[in-house]
Amino acid sequence: MRFKFLKGLLAASAIAAITATASFAEELSLKGKTIGVTVVGTSHHWDLQAYKGQIDELKKMGAEVIALDAGRNDQTQVNQIQTLIAQKPDAIIQQLGNIKVLDPWLKKIRDADIPLFTVDTITPHSVNNTTSNNYGIGSDLALRIAEDMGGKGKVLVFNGFYSVPVCKIRYDQLKYVMGNFSGIEMIEPELKDVAPNTVQQAFADVTDMLTKFDKDSGLKAVWSCWDRPSVGATQAIEKAGRNEVKVYGIDGSPDFVEMITNPNSPAMAVAAQQPYEIGKNAAINVAKYLNGQPIAPITFVSSVMITKDNAAELAKDFLPKK
């Protein structure tokens, strides 16, 4: 009885907290502020949605936005950041990218006394990083794969973007979890996903690997830290008629989610993130900070595990807009 009461009280205060945050967010204003947004590229669903989420929300709050898309070119992004620092905006949001390349420049931003906010980038120089809980995503998906494999067999992994912090976390979690199953082997050398031409390259690579690892080889799963290679892998497996090999990914791009909803497709599960919400939250964090409100160093935005079993129920918000 008492426990029930406590639970009710907790729920009520949680709702109150959420409403309070929402009303705070409505009152937040960035009028007269200039905010820079820098992103290495927007050629993928996730990148574009997160980028749009930031820009839309910043503009809604009245900010002037300097939005910079480097077109997947590290040198362009470094040039853009250098010019951006000279423009002295009130804050800068940096989204994704190679941390080895960016970190000295992110430090320059801090050295210039411009508050830095990041999306999916862990760096000591940022006030706040808005992201999915990639530790949770990584281990949940890994456990799911181990379960589907029955605890034994081979996993083929794409690991071309270990220098992107979120990919590192997800990959490390996968390795950690799989290390607990003595019957599971991660195939080495790993495949390297590329950008651009990710899907085509993944299709070709997986086709070759299916030849190398035949039906009796014990190959059961393909993993990647996002879901572009997963799309190519799914197509390759279908074409080779090797549907016993299942495909997993992270992000929740509409085309891959659609594959999961198809009962005959080897696409099994995706940890679907809410990139637009992530971008929006990063913008709200900037506004809170500039309005003198306290913010935590990390903001987690929830994600959803969409699987073959629950797709009918959960996939609809992630499917292609028709």
Partner: protein
């Protein structure tokens, strides 16, 4: 008879006038665009920003020097002569070699030499394909470009390979007499190449070979050797630039090949800023800085970055059209 002569003369006058018009027009357009940025783009003329643009243009400029030397030595007519489409990819490969060797524990000077040697070796391959196999430069260097980017992928396995050292961070953020290290590199390199091309007997010979290969051959110059030199020098520029790229990005990353379009734009645009529409080091320097100012000005004005590469492509078209038109005028 008299009327024909005067007709021809007046048409030559008119064409020469048109050529002057194109050249002056180019300078005027450059001036107007810079003036526009100075008035409307906040912070454009601040010394901090101007230095930024120079720093951002160093890599582009030195690669464009490589392309310019290829233009000079293999045919000053940029449409029919030589071209080095591999120069940017070559820089990417040299950077990958540089970083990999550093991470293997090689001493820095040796790794630097190895990177430059890699660039020159790819340049030699270009020369071989053009001189010995008599391939069209466009196709030959396209093939070498693919070899370079393939090798880069093989070495790096498509990874971003980080590297850090005192030397590299000095190049990245160091300053001397109030001028950044990168800007110093540009100044010294420009003086060196300008002297080599415009004030040494060697440069005169290279222009002769590129401008009139038959006449040069008749005069006893070794045309093939000069073409080899052009491509190997371009490779040297690529290798040299790779060190700057690695210092700026603290890593070797794929995507250096994407510099090809701006490099081409700068080297071609450079010809417009010379007296006879021939490639010159000064012209290329002005053009590279212009390409840099364009990207910078657009960002300061809040024009979408998506426009920049489109404008670069349009510039190439415009320049090639204008120079071929102006050349016809001068040749008549």
């Amino acid at each position: 008879m008299d009327t024909t002569v005067s007709d021809t003369k007046s048409s030559i006058d008119r064409r020469a006038l048109a050529a002057v018009f194109v050249r002056l027009g180019a300078f005027a357009a450059l001036g107007i665009i810079l003036l526009y940025f100075a008035i409307y783009a906040r912070g454009f003329t601040s010394s901090f920003n101007l230095q930024n643009v120079v720093e951002q243009s160093v890599i582009l400029t030195i690669l464009a020097y490589g392309m310019t030397v290829v233009f000079i030595g293999t045919g000053t007519d940029v449409q029919k002569g030589g071209i080095d489409l591999a120069v940017a990819a070559n820089a990417g490969l040299s950077g990958a070699v540089f970083v990999t060797l550093l991470n293997l524990g090689w001493p820095e000077p040796l790794a630097v030499l190895a990177a430059i040697f890699t660039g020159m070796a790819m340049g030699f391959l270009n020369g071989l394909a053009v001189v010995v196999f008599r391939m069209i430069p466009l196709l030959a260097t396209l093939a070498v470009m693919n070899i370079a980017s393939g090798l880069e992928l093989t070495i790096t396995e498509n990874n971003v390979i980080g590297v850090s050292s005192e030397f590299l961070s000095t190049l990245q953020f160091g300053r001397f007499l109030g001028i950044s290290a990168l800007a110093w590199v540009l100044i010294v390199f420009t003086i060196f190449v300008a002297f080599l091309m415009h004030y040494s007997p060697f440069g005169v010979r290279l222009y002769a070979v590129g401008g009139f290969p038959e006449a040069a051959r008749a005069a006893g110059l070794n045309v093939g050797r000069n073409i080899y030199f052009s491509y190997i020098f371009s490779g040297f520029c690529a290798g040299f630039t790779s060190i700057l790229i690695v210092s700026r990005l603290s890593a070797s990353t794929l995507g250096t090949g994407l510099l090809l379009l701006p490099v081409l734009a700068a080297a071609l645009l450079g010809t417009v800023f010379s007296r006879r529409f021939v490639p010159t080091i000064g012209g290329t320097l002005i053009a590279s800085l212009f390409v840099g100012f364009l990207a910078n000005g657009f960002q300061l004005l809040g024009v979408s970055s998506y426009w920049v590469s489109g404008v670069q492509g349009a510039l190439i078209l415009l320049v090639v059209a204008l120079t071929s038109f102006a050349k016809k005028s001068e040749g008549a």
